[in-house]
Amino acid sequence: MRLLALFACLFVGLSAQAAPKKEAKKEAKKVEPVIKAVVAPAAPVAALGERAAIWHVWTDKEGQKLDARFCGLAGEFITLQSRDGRTFHFKTELLSAEDVAFAKSCVDLARRNSFSPAVIASAAADIDRLVASVLTANKQTLNAPATDEQFLRRIYLDASGRVPTATEAATFLASNAPDKRAKLIDELLFSSGYTMQMFNWMADLLRVKDTFAKGVPAFTFEDWLKARLSAGTPWDKLVSEMITADGRLSDNGATGFMLFDAEMPLDGVSNLMTTFLGTNMACAQCHDHPLADWTQRDFYQMAAFFGATDGKDEAIGSAIKKAVRADSSLPKAAVLKIEQMNTFRMEDSDKQKLTFPKDYKYKDAKAGDPVTPALIAWSKGEKSLPVYNVNTKTPSQLRDEFARWLTSPQNPRFATNIANRIWKKAFGLGVIEPVNDIDDLAEASSPELMAHLTFVMKAAKFDLREVQRVIYNSKTYQASASATPDLGKAKYLFNGPIVRRLSAEQVWDSLIVTAVGTYADNVLLRRGDDLKAMALPAGKVTLAELKNAVNRTTKAFSGGGKLAGAPKKAAGGSALGLANGYEGDKPISRFSLMLARASELPQPSSETHFLRLWGQGDRLLADSATNDGSVPQVLQMMNGSVGKLVSDVRSAAVLDAMKAKTTEGEVTSLYLSYLSRKPTAKELAAASKSLTDGLALTDLAWVLANTREFLFVQ
């Protein structure tokens, strides 16, 4: 019901424009609460992708209209962007049947614009050829092809972030279609789970946190990233939008990436070099790199591209403080939040302020002198590339110039860095390791393979979905898995993917789907809109405006629900307090666990949450997730709330199994739910016997969830 109301309001804006003023006002008032549908703040249309925009007047079931551009269709969710730049994200069931069909045709069109099956096949075959030649040269061979069961589980985890349900598994395994693997790959890459798992992966890389600095909430950054991912925004556009983002977090979620380091801008530069280029300049920040070629001067010259950028607007902070002094009745907590939210703001001045540090000790520059921006290069010829021709004369443009160089296909590392990371996502290891230090391309286990992947990345115009499509269709990816290699002895040549423990998010999301089924794929957390209430209008801070902002803020955060999901408290992890932040379906809660997927929970979860125990990163640094083991993990899986969740009679996997008419059917169903395969005769016998010997299906579910096989992807 709420969704219908919500959607209705999306259309009101359009009809209101034509309607007489008075009526429009009335309408606007009526629809106020549903503004929640706006998942991302205004952004340039171009950022959502370069492919020909499809504009369309969309009609809902009630006949109301919205003029918007089609951005993407993932599972049951459609993403649209209206003429004024707002992004809308909702379930397709709200649309008329004709428009649902139209949206599907848009997807088909987008797919036709993407790589054709022939191109995919050829690019995948090139991967296989390059891997095979290295293997042959080293007297090794590719592993045997993965079985359908192995492939099924792997592709579900990699492309949609969770194991398949019993039904999904049975359907795939029963199919005799010769192209069923390719079909499944395409289906999963366009599911809502794809967006969720990409969000988890990027959240670890981009340090997506609910709060940064002194508890400043960054929900708009999360909402922005989710909207971009569901719209299929290519990596270069995504990165460029983050680096060049202007304004406050409340107005522009994309600022979240740069604002994370607003108080430590030099660290910020060092971090983004590692994240986007695989270049490790952290040492050069304080002294010439002892082990690599980077000098401190190199670092400062790069950092100077951000020397005109300011992440903190201290003036507004003192203006607010001054205004508050005039009226002591204003609630302190709300004012503090408003102050923080408005203080963090990305802006460029017309002066590059970075100077060499006081303790600068090298002869190539003088301490205290202003730094002239200059780009680094990895080899001599690179500096003559057209992309190195940047304008360093206009300080306010420096950041844009840097972003243009950074995200260009001509950048010597940008495409390689992301290609290597995407490869690692699929195989468990990068072609160059470690992935955060790829300065020396000759260190790749196969430089030719690395070059090919870089080429594919550029050919796909940085569309990560397309690149993953190529990789997943390769025989190399579809080979059975190798044991974790000892890189101390030799480089790994990719006989197949490596056996990996599921990531924290994959374990959690898999347990969620066994608990509540595919329902969880439609539970989406969006919390950023309330933060808009904190934004002060441009210009002088007046007490009246401040009061308005306080009222808006108090109202938006009233009822406890969202407040609990706001600053600081979210870090404490009262996930249940997030209830009001969900759109799509509402999450179910059992044993004090919010049964939503990891991407739709606090970022990151609280330290004692299952996700963190299993290695979800704290996101203070990039790549902070781990898959190390520990006893508390096992304790929670066996005895804790998650153990109870697994062996609960309401479990979707158990209920599925109960539908079977025979014991064999029951056991098989649970095996499919947890391990994506049928039991062997021996396993079937043992499990069946236990069911007549005092154990119930809920116990069998517990047992299967506690097998090592459940925790690992083969």
Partner: protein, 435 residues
């Protein structure tokens, strides 16, 4: 093989690469270094690094460390470094045992001050709570590009795990906050957020009979994948499950159980979170945990300092004196270093009934673990504004604790990111505090 090599091994690029590969393999979960596994396996060649400080006084005397974090910034002038004149606070100055002066807010501590060393010349530059607390907890200034480990993780790196089933480091009343730093996640302290709850989820919610049947079936059904695994990370998980089964049956779990203490002892420590936290810390170190952090807030006394000192300071005073006496009566004090650390001191001047943040000089207190008894190290100036002699940086404090714990200080290790680092951030230990 240690993942962290001495820096001079790494000057040529080939060594560097192979080193980085070794580091990398850890992060893939290959050598899942368990904090709960056998010492022989987890210990990364203990003693392989030669400690240049091994011959100096106090080296290795502290087998365990209890690190008390007084969050908010303890006023040095109103506690361990009393002043007369304009700086004097509301409390009076009293002569305490061990020939030192304390304020009247610490009557119980005054009775045991012949067992402690007060460092009155701590000095730092950071006056913001979170960053200063980070500095005091790690010995390093906070940075956006690296997370520094706590002393517990450093100790686990150099000395191996401290017990066969119990964790080597525990944090009480606080989260672990990336306490492993660049070391493997398994070096991260185990957080106990509520000392009276102890370790969670150690008991199965179902009957023992069902547990037995479930685990029997689990062994049978996992024989295929788990049983024949050649993969190191799968094998590690087999061990974690095995360790967990053992732990659940083990009496070691009692280390976390405050109910095992007599009512009299529990009462002596008091009901406060700090009191119960310190009691838990004592139980843990007594049972083989090497490094325990206990946090307590309430020290940010900008206003009503007098009342707050009575309340927060009073609780600290009773609990701290109890802890020192309890350790001594159990014969553990000489081998257990107890550190009282706060992120900064407070200004000599009063503003609105309290004092502002003051990192330039402040006090830290050491007891046990081979430090001198009834001793004052260093001094602040007359006002309590700046160090007068023997300034001690947070890094140097860390080097001092590390030295007491038998770790090599001023010795490079190389982090997985290829950066040379030292416990205590290159600072020298203050050997003058040791007996």
């Amino acid at each position: 093989m240690s993942i962290l090599h001495s820096a001079n091994l790494l000057r040529n690029p080939e060594d560097r690469r192979s080193f980085i590969e070794k580091c990398a393999k850890v992060s893939f979960g290959l050598s899942v270094l368990p904090f709960f596994t056998r010492i022989a396996e987890a210990a990364e060649v203990p003693g392989a690094v030669k400690a240049p400080n091994a011959g100096l006084p106090g080296f290795g005397k502290a087998k365990r460390v209890i690190f008390l974090q007084l969050n908010g910034g303890m006023s040095h002038i109103d506690t361990f470094d009393p002043k007369t004149g304009a700086s004097k606070g509301p409390g009076s100055i009293v002569s305490a045992k061990g020939d030192m002066q304390l304020t009247s807010y610490l009557p119980e501590t005054a009775k045991i001050s012949d067992r402690i060393t007060v460092i009155r010349s701590m000095t730092a530059k950071v006056g913001v709570h979170a960053s200063a607390a980070y500095l005091m907890r790690t010995g390093f200034e906070q940075r956006g590009t690296v997370q520094h480990p706590t002393l517990g993780a450093w100790a686990q790196h150099f000395l191996g795990t401290s017990h066969k089933t119990l964790p080597s480091s525990v944090t009480v009343n606080r989260s672990s906050n990336h306490g492993n730093g660049w070391f493997p996640a398994a070096y991260s302290p185990l957080p106990i957020l509520n000392p009276t709850d102890g370790l969670m989820d150690t008991k199965s919610p179902v009957s023992e009979a069902v547990v037995a049947k479930r685990t029997g079936l689990l062994a049978e059904l996992d024989a295929g994948f788990g049983g024949k695994a050649s993969d190191e990370s799968v094998k590690s998980y087999n061990e974690f499950y095995e360790s967990t089964f053992q732990l659940m049956k083990s009496t070691d779990l009692k280390a976390f159980d405050l109910a095992s203490e007599s009512a009299e002892t529990r009462a002596r420590y008091g009901k406060s979170k700090f009191g119960q936290g310190c009691l838990l810390a004592r139980r843990l170190v007594e049972n083989g945990v090497r490094f325990v952090e206990v946090a307590i807030g309430g020290w940010d006394m900008h206003a009503t300092l007098d009342d707050r000192m009575e309340e927060v300071g009073g609780d600290f005073d009773r609990v701290y004196a109890t802890l020192i006496q309890d350790l001594e009566s159990k014969g553990l004090l000489e081998s257990t270093l107890v550190v009282v650390a706060s992120e900064f001191g407070r200004k000599p001047t009063f503003e609105g009934g309290g004092r502002g943040h003051h990192p330039l000089v402040f006090s830290t207190v050491l007891a046990g673990g081979g430090v001198k008894r009834g001793f004052v190290f260093g001094a602040s100036d007359e006002k309590g504004y700046a160090p007068k002699e023997n300034g001690v940086s947070p890094g140097s404090l860390h080097a001092t604790i590390a030295h007491a714990a038998g770790l090599p200080v001023q010795t490079d290790i190389i982090t997985p990111a290829g950066r040379p680092m030292q416990v205590g951030n290159k600072a020298a230990p203050q050997t003058g505090v040791f007996a």
